[in-house]
């Protein structure tokens, strides 16, 4: 048991080092550029809106970059190992195939976590600075206003600034990336090239973001029969509802997320991850090397 964990740890560590040395972190520089450039072009309508837009862009950028990183980094793990025949020397050691897959997954998860932390620190710093200056300027402008109004303005700013909801949104972004990584691992367990894996994942990504809209449309516009319901359920089974993890819209609107809702979403993500990993391991165990 403990030696099994040791082997998974060794594979995860090596996977992480490999990915880090492939310079995937360079993507993060691109992220910083997007964040800084876009935030300096925001029209000043009100301080609160400015803060909200900055936050929206930052969360959106983190979301996008982390998802891309999850797909691209995971898609090439198995093909590389197969092509370089690394897999022979690894699996010829007392390593079970499930340990190999778990190691790969945790290696990617490590990479995603570190990337998220780096991006979050940057984005929190930007938002925090803007919030501070917005609060100062609001207080200056509103010295004449009644105290309730000032109070309301400051609450508005705080809701759009650094707070618990933002932390929740970041956590869910990581969960979504982890779901994508496990789905990618699942597809690459039978794919013969990483082009196939990435194309398939692009589809999962799209469907995952659109299916909520499609479902609402079908269920409300048409009196959905069981056939359509079954079809939608089937789609949901294979394509995770990625849109559910995008909280930025609700959070920008100032609606707080209850910790129950958060727990539910994290639970949903965990179910998808476990499901994908089980399928991935089952396929990979049968695969001829």
């Amino acid at each position: 048991m403990s030696s099994s964990l040791g082997r998974i740890g060794a594979i995860a560590r090596t996977t992480f080092i490999e990915l880090a040395r492939l310079r995937v972190f360079y993507v993060l520089i691109l992220f910083a550029l997007v964040l800084i450039i876009s935030s300096s072009f925001i029209a000043r309508i009100s301080f609160q809106q400015e803060l909200q837009v900055t936050r929206d862009i930052a969360l959106g950028a983190i979301n996008f970059f982390l998802s891309m990183l999850a797909i691209v980094a995971t898609a090439q793990l198995l093909p590389r190992d197969l092509e370089d025949r690394v897999i022979y020397s690894v699996l010829a050691k007392p390593v079970r195939r499930f340990e190999y897959m778990m190691g790969k997954f945790f290696g990617v998860l490590g990479l995603l976590t570190i990337s998220l932390i780096a991006m979050s620190v940057l984005c929190l710093a930007v938002i925090h600075l803007r919030e501070g200056s917005a609060v100062r300027e609001t207080m200056q402008q509103m010295t004449q206003s009644p105290p309730e109004e000032l109070e309301r303005a400051l609450t508005g700013l705080h809701q759009a600034g650094v707070n618990q909801d933002l932390a929740f949104a970041l956590l869910l972004t990581l969960m979504k990336a982890a779901v994508l990584a496990s789905a990618t691992l699942c597809i690459s367990s039978f794919a013969t090239s990483n082009i196939f894996t990435i194309s398939a994942m692009a589809m999962v990504y799209l469907v995952g973001h659109l299916e909520t809209i499609a479902r609402d449309y079908w269920l409300h516009q048409h009196s959905a029969g069981w056939l359509i319901r079954a079809f939608l359920a089937l789609v949901l089974l294979f394509f995770p509802d990625l849109q559910a993890f995008n909280l930025s819209d609700q959070i920008i609107a100032g609606a707080s997320l209850s910790s129950l809702a958060l727990t539910k979403l994290l639970g949903l993500g965990a179910v998808y991850i476990v499901g994908y990993l089980v399928i991935a391991i089952a396929i990979f165990t049968q695969r001829e090397l």
Partner: protein
């Protein structure tokens, strides 16, 4: 008789080929038995099924029919692989790791503790002659250096069985001499070795027993001396005699109805020459 180190029983391997009607029969009713401490050489032309055999023994691919036992245990259990070190053909490893990191990784996979693996890694780097390149990334290694790191990786957990797929491919003559010496010294510690090769002279030097695969069938097998001995001939190489004595010897041979097939000055081989002139290149 004691339990063989490796027993391959009636293994057939058929590769399905999608989009094509003909299946590839890589191995047919293969039987092999390798005794503990023996060095066995698997020979055969390209595509005869050598690598397939070795991969089946390691459990990397499943036989279509038949079974493999290692020290009497089914080879699909993980514990079996604690006893085996494997060098895949054209060994390649994570390009972004250094030599030391690669060995540390494989040590962890084999369940070695960190203190134990540290000394073992230093020792093995020395053995395969990579001490100087230990901290360079594998992407900068030459083919022969990769082969050496592959060998070190196979030896890391002191396995009782070594399975080597073309261990001397891409290695220079001095390197393949080192590898042969390594094989010979592993034999002294009782390690069982199964290797595949095309290099017949090397196989001849190190192996106790060989098998020849052809189109997935074992067409010849046996002890090297038995297979190669020409029963009615004898060879001797003599030193410090006179030509007159040799002439006399030849006449005596003729008098008993024998025949001298060949009389010549023995030549050094190109390999010997190469080794001699490049001997000092490392120091």
């Amino acid at each position: 008789m004691t339990e063989p180190a490796i027993r391959v029983s009636d293994v057939t391997k058929i590769f399905p080929t999608p989009f094509r009607r003909r299946r590839i029969v890589a191995l047919q009713h293969l039987n092999l038995e390798i005794a503990p401490g023996e060095i066995y050489g698997l020979l055969g032309p390209n595509g005869s099924g050598k690598s397939t055999t070795l991969k089946i023994i390691l459990g990397l691919i499943q036989p279509t029919r038949g079974s493999v036992r290692v020290f009497g245990r089914d080879n699909s259990t993980v514990a079996v692989r604690r006893d085996i070190g494997f060098l895949p053909e054209n060994a390649y490893f994570h390009k972004f790791l250094t030599g030391t990191e690669t060995l540390r990784f494989h040590a962890r996979l084999s369940g070695l503790g960190s203190r134990e693996s540290k000394s073992r890694i230093a020792e093995l780097l020395e053995t395969v002659g990579l001490t100087r390149a230990a901290d360079a990334r594998l992407s900068t290694y030459s083919k022969g250096m990769l082969q050496r790191i592959g060998l070190a990786q196979a030896l890391i957990h002191r396995p009782k069985i070594l399975v080597l797929d073309e261990p001397t491919a891409a290695v220079d003559p001095a390197g393949s001499r080192d590898i042969q010496n390594l094989i010979a010294s592993s034999k002294k510690t009782g390690t069982t070795i199964l290797l595949s090769s095309h290099l017949l002279t090397q196989v001849q030097e190190v192996c106790d027993r060989i098998g020849i695969l052809h189109r997935g069938k074992l067409i010849r097998e046996g002890r090297l001396e038995d297979l190669l001995a020409i029963e009615n001939q004898t060879e001797f190489i003599v030193e410090n005699t006179t030509p007159e004595f040799l002439d006399q010897l030849e006449r005596q041979i003729a008098s008993v109805n024998g025949r001298v097939v060949l009389r010549r000055k023995p030549q050094t081989s190109l390999e010997q020459l190469f080794l001699k002139v490049t001997e000092t290149r490392d120091e």
